[in-house]
Symmetry: C2
Subunit: 271 residues, 2 copies
DNA sequence: CCCCCACCGTGTCCGCTGGACACGATGTCG
DNA sequence: CGACATCGTGTCCAGCGGACACGGTGGGGG
């Protein structure tokens, strides 16, 4: 193969911002570095991309290796490439973020002896590299996403109460929400399955449990994703959807409010 | 420097999706490749990241080198890293996208003799590598962004008519908009300066010209941009979701609809 | 046993925005 | 001077977002 590049190459890593939720707060997964630079400091789990694996595969592998953690819903966040972000030389990192049901994941100490632990996102220790920036970016993204994608459910146990869900939203958005309005809106989405169960072991009236209806969501996702075929633009006809199968194209899944079937949907967003 | 990594490294490039607008259509800037692989094919402008420059700097440099084009408003889009996306070996590319006033940029043929040209985004030739995916991703992003950021103005000349603006939105969103509603909404933003001029050289009644008011926009941006200051979170103790009443922060960068002063803004988006 | 406490669960009203909808005014050109 | 092309304008209604309060229920403690 004669066309190989011979320029010096930066190193490429992936880093993962993994969010979890417990009773107290929104948590982020950190690992303690065992080697220089920043030995002893806490950092986001991550590591080098291998030559034969995709970026997302690399992120998954590192999560598994460093925290014994598997997750669906891994999403590319941003790529950080400032020349001086790593004291060892040029290292570009592709950041991913993920949501996990914290309760279901007992952290297995990392295979390579480093420690892994959950920290409140509002109160982390000093982080290695530019990981504080990465975390801030991830929080911002989470805050934005939670508004138009039902991703929050990834953070809760399979069965949850509406109060839990509301607390989740309040935590992520950093503001209080009105209970009645919240319920009205959430239930109007018609994506929750009302169970014949209530929570246990509480010293007051028990709340009803709900489950996220993945099937219905998938349906809506499909149904509401026709928004590209705008039919009648005159001049040219050959607009092609471009197969999304091949590479890692981001998929903006779907809005919670797709249900509305408005002929002329808003072209500017309401906040 | 003893801590240098010695793993094999992927090559890292940047690619730019540059959009422009003319009377006919939304255009994208492409260059024709002069060397293998894909010699003769059209591709997005881009190239290798140098060891001492940031990713964004690299993108700017390549744009300048390959098309003699300078732009503000360069934004990171997505990073494409599928192992087989480049036949020469592992090449990871960080894609950027940009908007330019097409009328103001006469393309200077690339310094390295490759040709540069504008193509309708709906009717491009077959692209090299996975650049069709990159373009599709960029279009999707543009479509999303135009709704809540006044970025469209980057595509128009400094003075423009509301009809031009409307055509821009219609082109990007791929659907028709109602003229009266459009004007109502756009003018309600209060970001356009109404000029005492009308367009020239038209064979019908001339339309009034407007100018985008960058000052006002910056102000609003600042006013609505306090959203990151989560630094002041009372350490751990109890979660305190911010006072409801005053000085709340809209999460997203900046909405065209910031003007509304609603105490409890929606926590789920309207489409 | 009874009371208290803590949380659960529910409905209405108002203001605003989004969106549907049509026509007279103005200027050019032949 | 008439035909043509685009400009510029207002109203009405439906639906959503958001403000707002209280009785119900179950457990626990006195």
């Amino acid at each position: 193969m004669s066309h190989t590049y011979e320029y010096p190459r930066p190193a490429v890593t992936v880093d993962c911002v993994v969010f979890g939720l417990d009773e107290e707060d929104l948590k982020v997964l950190l690992i303690q570095r065992g080697v220089e630079p920043y030995a002893g400091r806490w950092a986001l789990p991550g590591g080098f991309v291998r030559m034969e694996e995709s970026l997302e595969d690399a992120a998954r592998r590192e999560l598994e290796e460093e925290a014994g953690l598997r997750t669906s819903h891994l999403e590319q966040l941003y790529t950080f490439g400032a020349p001086e972000r790593d004291p060892r030389g040029r290292v570009i990192t592709v950041a991913y973020f993920a949501l996990v049901k914290l309760s279901a994941h007992h952290l297995q100490a990392a295979t390579d002896a480093r420690e892994a632990a959950w920290f409140s996102v509002w109160d982390t220790p000093k982080l290695a590299f530019d990981h504080a920036d990465v975390l801030a970016t991830a929080l911002q993204r989470l805050k934005g996403k939670v508004r138009y994608q039902p991703i929050g459910f990834e953070l809760l146990p399979p069965k949850f109460t509406l109060s839990q869900l509301q607390r989740l939203y309040e935590t992520v958005l950093e503001r209080e929400l009105d209970k009645r309005n919240f319920r009205k809106k959430i239930l109007a989405m018609d994506l929750l399955e009302e169970l014949d169960e209530v929570e246990q072991d509480v010293s007051h009236r028990a709340a009803r449990l709900y489950r996220f209806d993945h099937k219905k969501y998938k349906q809506l996702e499909k149904a509401g994703f026709n928004f590209d075929g705008s039919t009648t633009r005159s001049t040219n006809s050959s607009r092609r959807p471009a197969s999304t199968s091949n590479s890692e194209a981001p998929s903006r899944p779907l809005l919670m409010t797709v249900l509305r079937n408005a002929p002329e949907r808003g072209f500017l967003a309401s906040p």
